[in-house]
Subunit: 319 residues, 2 copies
Amino acid sequence: MKPLTQPPTLQDLRETHAAIQPLIHRTPVLTCRSLDARSGAELYFKCENFQKVGAFKMRGAASAALRLSPGERQHGLATHSSGNHAQAVARAARELGVPAYVVMPRNAPKIKVAAVRGYGAEVIPCEPTLEARETGLADVVARTGAAFIHPYDDYSVIAGQATAAIELIEDAGAPLDIVLAPVGGGGLMSGTALAARFLAPGIRVYGAEPELADDARRSLEAGQLLHNTRTDTIADGLRTNLSSRTFGILQAQLDGIFAVSEAEIVEAMRLVWERMKIIIEPSCAVPLAAVLRNPAVFAGKRTGIILTGGNVDLESLPF
Amino acid sequence: MKPLTQPPTLQDLRETHAAIQPLIHRTPVLTCRSLDARSGAELYFKCENFQKVGAFKMRGAASAALRLSPGERQHGLATHSSGNHAQAVARAARELGVPAYVVMPRNAPKIKVAAVRGYGAEVIPCEPTLEARETGLADVVARTGAAFIHPYDDYSVIAGQATAAIELIEDAGAPLDIVLAPVGGGGLMSGTALAARFLAPGIRVYGAEPELADDARRSLEAGQLLHNTRTDTIADGLRTNLSSRTFGILQAQLDGIFAVSEAEIVEAMRLVWERMKIIIEPSCAVPLAAVLRNPAVFAGKRTGIILTGGNVDLESLPF
């Protein structure tokens, strides 16, 4: 395997899935009759909240790390992130026996900084701006020679994220009509769309976004990459903008994007906690919120939803 | 099947398990490497938080209801409970097509009252004293002819609760050294101990209790039934006292009882939420708290823990 310089093919996805096995869990696909009754759909939840590091990000980081040659990764892995990708890169590096360097904003939750350090990574604090993060990353790469793993603008990462949908389609136990994922930077959504197109050609593929961070919906409507103008949605994993690579894939592959309100996100999150007894983070609740908001689209449809992660600060819950 | 008038035999447990299948889920047994690392034990969690009504109580209610003849249950099922047993009886009645009557204290959480009504039961409010509950129940039984299902002082209920341990022992994938359950009224603990003795004779069977509600530990030490003197533990499912039937079984079968502090309960609950990404109620965290407090007992031991339920009020969490 080598780093991918083109959108992944089916063979790329298969190779990726085989290669990352030692670094990931095969997470379960759960169903819930009371949410089926509530939504009118037949829902299949792919539980990446049970993934290593508590999020699907482990898949993309593992894929990118394993596609580097031993020489390319010998000086370690580097990234900038305040969230799950930071933990994923740190853990992938530890599993591969190389150092990790993570540039994190000073206002990142202490529990996340502690988790990244817990995997043995060096944390480089920076000011909480994108510019400071990028400068910090460039400094670290110059100093250490570590390989940068972008959270989503990287076809190798996208190939890794696609493996969640591969497993969802294989394990649902019935052919899915629709697959849904949340859209942040678009890495998971791109991988999900490609996996669905390759493995289940008749399936419809939708994204779901907060109204407060609907750059993907607006970008697809406008036919050009537009940015979010605010970053205050509760769905903190979805505040980022699409990149050129993910925008290109979503333009080609997506059937549409649903946007939902903050209140709808909290309500969907609460429903999953109460009815399924599993912990999901707010970003994760966005696709279910889209299903509940658009019953005519999903009525009677076997709908696969990727639950992306379960890393929440238990001391600041929205309930 | 008929109501059991003696402690259940292995054959009683097998018959019960077969009979209640249509009314229960076979819940998963989960493991968690980070909790293994933290505890030094090898932990197998039987996830009754994923059971119907969100708790193991469904098993006992189903067993007791199914052991009644159609004539005995034709006028419905009745109980008094502010917790999971109320929902279990209501749901069992609905599945059997008979009415349910639940005497609930006026200060019971609204969400629990709503859940019981949601299963179609008639809720009879009463003052929050044991006397008022028992009087309310007697009135309902006299008025309706419904059959009373006690939450734990009933061998038929105990046989139902035992089926969680049967599945845990079958599904752990390795022979268990120890099995642990929380002790409230003792129905689950009695059933767990019997199942373990029948199916895995060499296994050690321990109970776990809050220090603030350690009636079982004190009763076993004293050789006579003693009561709790306070009812303010956060583990609200464990505030009840043993009964004569459960005390008798525990005296004969238990290897010991560990008591834990309130802080230890909250810490164990938080660990399960954070590391396993599943929702458990405080009562449920008591056995893990006991493992963490007594590392020498559990070091290297394959330890099965019954996670009893996941019904928590998300608006009043202890974090």
